[in-house]
Subunit: 217 residues, 2 copies
């Protein structure tokens, strides 16, 4: 079990805080807003109303004892910078900050942030990719050219086996797993016939994978 402090409990911050708590960790949530503190109080270990730009307040809360601080004060850039500075000065080992743009991120890194994230931007990129290839359920970008994707079996593949489809030769992709209902087959045999609704986990070049995701339209 680790100790986390989450400073600023907007939509992003509260999601981080409550998820960490659900994962079994100790979480202190801090916000200036009384209602927000009340709302989150039964979903974290401790919820405290405090101003993170007040060094004494953070010191008395024992901030230095936390392994990690998440600073998710979004819109108020100056408070976000102040809170990061104070958290690092008080000795928090790992500080993750939410930023609005690259410029703000640069400042945060300069004053000691260990990681800066852009939740809205990153999720925007994911959703855009998702819209473009709607039968892709999830993906990992291995590098700018290679990905692992989870795709719904194109309808014209249903009833065929992996030998017939010859995906390695035709598309240069490998099927690494087949998900059928609640069952996952992580080393599908070559004569496995695909069924409607099968989810395939494939690895290959993005351009080739994009070709597949167009098969269906």
């Amino acid at each position: 079990m680790k100790q986390y402090v989450v400073i600023g409990c907007g939509r992003f911050g509260s999601s981080v805080a409550t998820t960490l708590y659900l994962l079994g960790h100790e979480v202190m949530a801090i916000d200036t807003n009384y209602d927000i503190v009340q709302d989150i109080s039964d979903k974290v270990t401790h919820a405290v109303q405090a101003d993170a730009t007040d060094e004494n307040a953070l010191r008395s809360l024992g901030i230095r004892n936390f392994d990690t601080a998440v600073i998710s004060i979004g819109s108020d850039v100056q408070s976000s910078i102040m809170a990061t500075l104070i958290a690092k000065e008080l000795g928090v080992k790992y500080v993750l900050c939410k930023a609005q743009n690259e410029l703000q991120a640069k400042v945060l890194y300069k004053i000691g942030a260990d990681r800066v994230v852009f939740p809205e931007r990153d999720m925007g990129v994911r959703v855009a990719h998702n819209l473009v290839s709607q039968n892709v359920l999830d993906h990992i970008e291995l590098d700018p050219n290679y990905s692992i994707v989870e795709i719904v079996t194109p309808s014209n593949w249903v009833g065929k086996d992996l030998i017939e489809l010859d995906l390695r030769a035709k598309y240069g992709i490998n099927v690494m797993a087949i998900k059928r209902g609640t069952n996952i087959n992580i080393s599908p045999s070559a004569n496995e016939k695909l069924k409607m609704g099968d989810i395939l986990v494939v690895i290959g070049e993005n351009t080739k994978i994009n070709q597949i995701s167009k098969e269906d339209r």
Copy 2:
């Protein structure tokens, strides 16, 4: 090439719009705020200052010709609902909306939204998982128990090959790919010795994968 209209260009909306454009699609970006429209104008096909709660404005922009509308007016719930209603009434086939909470999502689905997303919440969940297992770079949840994850090679695995590590027997996981610098090996041989900095793509049960991500601490 498909036609997308993005209504509301905050951090999330502008990221969706510019990513769709980068992926080679036609994108119209709409916002009430003049400065935002100016900022995004060279990163999308068309940028227009308009109020999405004004049905006539949307009609004259030819909204019905778009395959997909992304409605990313975040904080103003009422405008978000109005814009969704109008887009569906004008005949947009697929409408994706950004929402703040489940209640808002329910209303949006009722009035015809095809998909509702919670960017801050979803990214909060991802970041929390990431903090808990910091050597996991990305993951796909295949089901509640199985995942594919991209992990940094634990330091005590460096110099050993896959036979020696015997991961299948020890952890029930399979190494599906090894990323070394810019090179990706998608069918690593059993006597491949792991190097410091190698990124491994593994598939297996979450509980087993979590054990690995703790190997290093």
